[in-house]
Amino acid sequence: MATPLGQIFHVYSRLGFGISYAKAKLLSQKTLNEIINGLIVTSSTGTYLTEIKKEDILLKKEAMDNGMTPKEYQKLIKDKLQELNISWTKKLLNTENVLLEKQTLFWHNHFACRVRHPYLMQELNNIHRKFAFSSFRDMLVEVSKSPAMLIYLNNQQNKKAHPNENFARELMELFTLGRGNYTEQDVQEVARAFTGWGFNKDDGTFEFKEKQHDAGEKTIFTRKGNFGGEDVINMLISNKQTAYFITKKMYKYYVNENVNEERVKQLADFYYQNQYNTGALIKKIFTSTWFYDAENMGCNIKSPVDYLIGLSRQFSISYSNYDVLFKLQRVLGQQLFYPPNVAGWPGGKTYIDSTTLVLRMKLPSLILNNGEVEIADKIDDPDDQKKEEVLENKKFGTTVNWGVIIEENKNLDLDKLLKVYLLKSPSQKITDKIKSDPSLGVKEMILKIVSLPEYNLA
């Protein structure tokens, strides 16, 4: 075996959404380098989101011309945003390019944006896809020019006569340097440099509005010059702090929420020297021996999307009603295209409270158990709540081919199954408890395992 199974389960929980025992066994013939190289896909068919059509830019105008009331229009936008969410969710469920999705999710959170323009939101997402593994600098330029971000951070209102600092501040605080690495004066001057960056409302393309641009001299990071927006971006990119800021965030995302400063500094140097080539950084991380240290395994909390997509993919669940996944994303605390604010989802422990944890522990039975609600069956004091539970379950409309899963795992005992489905072992008391019931089949054992708190660790 070229690659141990344990390493494959670990690496797939980070650069993908988990992996089945059968697939992991197949992959273990390859070397780690081969596995990871195969996953860095820069562009291929099916890379982009295409559900929302470009004509929708004119949706508002059209809707008003057709006598739609504002309320009807709001509803239309809401529905389109849901379609957009579902189109991405479907891609997450079915794609082979899992790493591309994983990195797109990273950028989706890093460049968090939320505007009521479905097509423009889709285009911003496609920028993240286009540059997922290439130059961060080029992506930053494209993101800064994207109508969605221009609207969200009020750069359309950033004019020479009345500069609006919103974009300038977030560009430095959240997208590149991080707090404490610029002054209030820098914010004001950077805002001036981006005056006139806007877009054409009819076709949704970037437009530099020269009349609104302040071409005068600015002082940015103690340098003087008649800087424009791209100059500022180049200055931010040439500042090593940006490489450090992005690398640290990537380290937390892919490796460990608890940062090893020394390692992050080395990786940041590498990223900087490689002209912010994100693919190179990812490869470096996943092929480092320390990535496979025990302290980095099963130490992070799965985001709601990781959790839902992972569960669905691991059990090849098919959904007849995708609204369920849209709603579950919300109640679990991470709905795609609806970040809480420009800082994105804080992640980690913040995803877990009593309600979301209990829901995560219940969902495997609800989704995987094909209409049987094992949980409700055992209620010692049954009343009408039971009916509600069953109804709730019907709404999932899921199909799971347990035959295949059982066949795949039939030769595995509890200890092996725990290693297939969990990255951290539960305590001896809990495994003893499961073992103490010899009547449990593979299916029941798997259900118990994926209902454990440990299933929420990646």
Binding site: T69, P70, K71, R114, R169, E257, G298, C299, N300, I301, V331, P340, N341, V342, A343, P346, G348, K349, T350, I352, D353, S354, T355, T356, L357, V358, M361, K362, I375, K378, I379, D380, D381, D383, Q385, E388, K424, S427, K429, I430, K433, K448, S451, L452, P453, E454, N456, L457
Partner: protein
């Protein structure tokens, strides 16, 4: 050695000091009687406060609102040239008895007109250019409480307001259902098994701590709550049901300090009048029933009710007989021993506007500070970082 001292020493000696507070038996024995609590009612969507507490003597009000301005004969007049929207009629009794305070012009600097961002700001008590991941009540739980159940939201999901760094509040829509879910033998086994293991500080430990805390909090609330027999009749609205749940929790004597509910639908961009009146009617009747119920239960002395919305609406009506997102607005406080009663500060200034919106005079965080310091006896400066002085209403 007394029992508390013994438990402390022995638990340190056996390495159980990482186990959350609710497992330390004596903490639970402290009686809930006389427990001061705050009930927060969130009006989601941005309530149009100008049509709630109406400046009926101000010509500008009618000038800017020719369609939806409420005429004097449809109002309940208060002092200082303000009047209740007729739908608040049942609340007049509390206004008259000095058990209601109305604060005008509440907001914050550089207001955000987006629902979710502005709500975030109210929940986290941040500045408008600051992003916090914990709520103000969550930080109160972190600093001053030991158990999840000390902050209860009557809903399926927990609001950011009640999320702390170490401790989260508990969302309970239906205590019996939640209890039953956690009593599934397998879940119960997991929680029980974890109870005797020493929990680590890592994420695995955090998940088990959360589970244990939930299960123990739910047990406690359920056991206390099931003996309550409160037959008081509430209006048949969602808020009415939620407030009745809260009255039951209070009656059960649990040591919960914060209760939280929200009521939606206030985003009245079009055909506002009927819709808002209907919502205010539901709100007023539910709150009134709640207060009368607590009085009957002899618990009203211990309770304060606080109502807010993420923003007020624009002064000028829009073309669809509605109003768009605005800025400053009112908050209400109800209680037995208010320091300030009735209308506590100056009227909204409809003349000096900020881009068509009211300017705020009272930072909402100064009211939070008042609640934290003077009602919940907490160190407000540890919870609210904004440099504002408490605005003393309670």
């Amino acid at each position: 050695m007394d029992r508390r001292g013994f438990i402390r020493t022995s638990s340190l000696a056996s390495g159980y000091f990482l186990i959350p507070g609710f497992l330390k038996p004596l903490e639970n024995l402290r009686p809930g009687e006389g427990q001061k609590n705050i009930v927060i009612i969130q009006l989601s969507g941005g309530n149009d406060w100008l049509n709630t507490i109406v400046p009926y003597k101000n010509e500008l009000y009618y000038k800017k609102r020719p369609k939806i301005g409420l005429k004097e004969d449809k109002l309940i007049l208060l002092e200082k040239d303000l009047a209740f929207n007729n739908s608040l009629a049942v609340l007049k009794q509390f206004y008259d008895s000095g058990e209601m305070a109305i604060v005008n012009n509440v907001g914050y600097p550089n207001p955000d007109r987006s629902h979710f961002r502005s709500m975030d700001i109210w929940h986290t008590a941040s500045s408008s250019n600051e992003f916090l991941h914990t709520g103000w009540l969550g930080r109160y739980l972190d600093n001053d409480c030991k158990n999840s159940y000390e902050g209860i939201e009557v809903d399926n999901y927990l609001s950011l307001a009640l999320k702390g760094k170490k401790l989260n509040g508990l969302a309970v829509k239906n205590i019996k259902q939640l209890y039953n879910e956690l009593k599934v033998p397998y879940f119960n086994d997991i929680a029980q098994a974890a109870k005797s293991d020493v929990l680590n500080e890592d994420n695995q430990g955090y998940l088990y701590k959360t589970l244990l805390e939930t299960s123990s909090s739910v047990d406690y609330i359920y056991e206390k709550n099931k003996i309550v027999n409160n037959t008081f009749e509430y209006p048949n609205s969602e808020l009415g049901k939620q407030l009745k749940d809260i009255a039951n929790f209070i009656a059960s004597g649990i040591s919960t300090k914060v209760y939280y509910v929200s009521m939606g639908g206030f985003d009245t961009h079009a055909a506002q009048l009927d819709r808002q009146n209907n919502l205010l009617d539901q709100y007023a009747k539910a709150v009134s029933a709640f207060i009368v119920n607590l009085k009957g239960l002899n618990k009203w002395d211990d309770t304060t009710v606080f109502t807010f919305s993420e923003f007020g609406r624009r002064v000028e009506e829009n073309a669809s007989a509605g109003t768009d997102h605005g800025t400053a607005g009112n908050v209400f406080l109800f209680g037995k021993n208010l320091k300030k009663k009735g209308i506590v500060n100056e009227l909204p200034d409809l003349e000096n506007l900020d881009d068509g919106d009211l300017k705020y005079h009272v930072d909402f965080r100064s009211i939070y500070k008042n609640i934290l310091e003077d009602w919940l006896q907490a160190d407000a400066n540890k919870i609210i970082s904004a440099n504002v002085n408490p605005f003393k209403v309670i």
